[in-house]
């Protein structure tokens, strides 16, 4: 289907697709097996200017937005959802700086992030604060011109590999969610360390680690927005980043469908290619239809986000929900089409099925997405009735 990409968007898509095919696909299974962080791929992505696409031009970016970032994430995810995540999560870490950073903060970080010289991360989740983000206990206590941060963040993508972290902390625990603030912490700051590296089911090339803060002192100028805005920074960031997760899911799904169709033409049973059997044809038809529907939704949401449409939370959640459920279904069916071979690690769809699962869980579980969508529905209905 033609999504009427501009010449520049087409160029972005092709650049990402070439890297996915030539640089990522050949190493994807090895990186998955060894849980290796893709340093050299990050360099390739940086050299190709792909980190620039969603950063404003005045900070050495190319001035695109969520849609351009999603195009990149989708193409990279066709080859490896894990490696694509390292890129997407840097985007997640960069978005709050773009949205809420002062000019000084932007000048300090965005040009380096644009060049791929450093990558970013975003830290909200804690051992006891997942879907209920207001339950975080990591604190940032005011002390003169500084904040002193204490606590542990869990499951932080790019943890240890990112140079700059947006950390959501409690600056006033008495006020609950309204007492949280978003604080920038540089890697290497005294009192900021990394805990264990998680051993994951999928997206194994991306690193997922604990962040440990022990009397970590950062200047108050490192705050994003104002005190008490932490929760809002997080939610606004997710509104923008969820299409990226949707794009990751889409890429994984498309990659799995492409592999399944190609395999069905090669594999012969009963003297015929298995693609000639209607049972498989119907499966592939459904997979393709679901992917296309998810893509249409994701692209349109990303374009809405970039156009500055208000109240994007609901639609952004819809894109993430639909694309990730599609990815799970499509990759499961792809394994089915591969039959016994699909269950084996030498064939790529086994990994794709594992990679797909996380897209239903992170950046808000799909249950949370449904809640966001429902709350918007209800609010909208109340507003209409007045």
């Amino acid at each position: 289907m033609d999504y009427f990409l501009t010449e520049e968007q087409q160029m972005i898509k092709e650049t990402a697709a070439q890297i996915a095919k030539e640089k990522i696909e050949p190493i994807a299974l090895e990186y998955d097996e060894e849980q290796k962080f893709p340093d050299e791929i990050v360099k390739v992505l940086g050299d190709a200017d792909l980190f620039r696409v969603f950063i404003p031009e005045e900070y050495d970016g190319l001035g695109g937005g969520v849609f351009e970032m999603s195009l990149v994430v989708e193409e990279l995810s066709k080859a490896c959802g894990g490696i694509a995540l390292s890129y997407a999560a840097s985007g997640l870490g960069t978005i709050p700086i773009i949205l809420f950073g002062t000019d000084e903060q932007k000048k300090k970080y965005l040009p380096k992030l644009a060049a791929g010289e450093m990558i970013a991360a975003f830290a909200l989740t804690e051992p006891n604060a997942g879907s209920d983000a207001s339950a975080i206990v990591t604190s940032a206590k005011s002390d003169g011109d500084d904040y002193v941060i204490n606590g542990t963040k869990q499951w932080i993508t790019n943890g240890g590999d990112a140079s700059i972290y947006t950390v959501i902390c409690m600056t006033d625990p008495t006020r609950g969610a309204r007492g949280s603030s978003a604080v920038l912490v540089d890697k290497g700051t005294e009192g900021f360390d990394f805990g264990k590296k998680e051993d994951k089911m999928g997206i194994r090339a991306s690193s997922t680690r604990e962040l440990i803060f022990q009397d970590c002192r950062v200047p108050k100028t490192n705050i994003l927005g104002k005190e008490g805005m932490g929760f809002m920074v997080a939610m606004k960031t997710f509104d923008q980043s969820r299409p990226g997760v949707a794009a990751q899911a889409l890429g994984i799904a498309q990659g799995a469908l492409d592999k399944a169709v190609a395999y069905s033409r090669e594999r012969h049973q009963f003297g015929k290619p298995v693609s000639s059997f209607q049972g498989l044809q119907f499966m592939m038809a459904d997979m393709a239809t679901q992917i296309e529907a998810a893509r249409a939704l994701t692209y349109q949401v990303a374009r809405n986000v970039d156009a500055g449409v208000k109240n994007i939370a609901g639609m952004s959640a819809m894109a993430k929900l639909m694309a990730s459920d599609t990815a799970m279904k499509v990759t499961t069916d792809a394994v089915q089409i591969f039959g016994g071979y699909g269950y084996m690690k030498e064939y790529p769809v086994e990994k794709m099925m594992r990679d797909a699962k996380i897209t239903q869980i992170y950046e808000g579980t799909n249950q949370i997405q449904r809640e966001v969508i429902a709350m918007n529905l209800i609010k909208e209905s109340m507003r209409k009735k007045g």
Binding site: E8, M11, T15, K23, D47, A48, D49
Partner: protein, 269 residues
């Protein structure tokens, strides 16, 4: 450092076909690419530029569509691109081609270093690099696998031999042709692609180069391609199918029945 890279646009021969009646390449539907060996030459020129500062100019002779190849080279980081294109250049063999390229290099002026791939994947002659050097009256070294050191005056490099390599030192200016061991070509960047789209491609013809029309193109080519053909497909043969044990038995029987003496051992049935 003033660097020139000579490139050739070639059909992507992974899917090239030959018209059996006219004995020419079927170009329709076949993608044109930069000769793969020239990609290594472009990469090496960019590495030298990054180390030494200077400019990289891409030079090619061919029809107007070669502009695409030149733009691709610019997207990788080359500074300028010049296309030598004129009806009079058509039908050139390696002698005439290297003369025209040499005239282009002379017109650019003050060139220190000329890179090329060791050969083009369509013609496979490997003659144009040395030819250009001869026309310019400067030295050349072929099959470079590594540039160890380079200064404004000289270059120390490794030249690939059939077994091993030889380390050489040479003065500039010089023509160097490279093998694929020399580097891993970079991919184009987005900024590069955008620059390439806007890049001005200079086109020079016979009059710009003040070429002697008796010495260029078909007129200046003592060699001509008479015929291009695919090697004939092997005919006959017999395929033994079934379980390996059975098909091997059948093969051995066939060989014996044909009176072929088999070697010692390993043939017990």
């Amino acid at each position: 450092m003033n660097i020139v890279v000579c490139i050739k646009q070639v059909p992507d021969t992974t899917n090239v076909k030959i018209n059996p009646e006219t004995n020419t390449l079927i170009r329709e539907g076949v993608e044109s690419i930069i000769n793969p060996f020239d990609m290594y030459a472009i990469e090496e020129s960019l590495r030298v530029k990054e180390k030494m500062e200077g400019t990289v100019t891409i030079l090619s002779m061919g029809p107007p569509q070669v502009e695409d190849a030149l733009r691709e080279a610019v997207s990788l980081g080359a500074d300028n691109a010049i296309l030598l294109s004129d009806r009079a250049f058509a039908g050139a063999d390696t002698l005439a081609t290297s003369l025209t390229l040499a005239e282009g290099i002379r017109k650019i002026g003050g060139v220190d270093l000329i890179f090329m791939g060791k050969q083009a994947m369509d013609g496979d002659t490997g003659q144009v690099g040395p030819g250009v050097a001869e026309h310019l009256g400067i030295p050349h070294i072929t099959d470079i696998r590594k540039i160890e050191e380079i200064s404004e005056k000289e270059v120390i490099l490794e030249r690939l031999l059939e077994e091993g390599y030889v380390r050489l030192k040479a003065g500039l200016p010089i023509v160097l042709t490279v093998v694929k061991e020399i580097n891993e070509p970079r991919l184009p960047s987005l900024r590069g692609k955008m620059a390439a789209k806007k890049a001005e491609i200079t086109v020079w013809g016979v009059e710009d180069l003040k070429s002697n029309t008796d010495l260029v193109g078909l007129n200046g080519s003592p060699t001509q391609v008479m015929k291009i053909f695919s090697p004939p497909k092997p005919e006959g043969g017999k395929v033994f199918t079934g379980e390996p044990v059975d098909s091997v038995k059948a093969l051995l029987k066939e060989l014996r029945d044909g009176g072929i003496q088999l070697g010692v051992g390993g043939e017990k049935e």
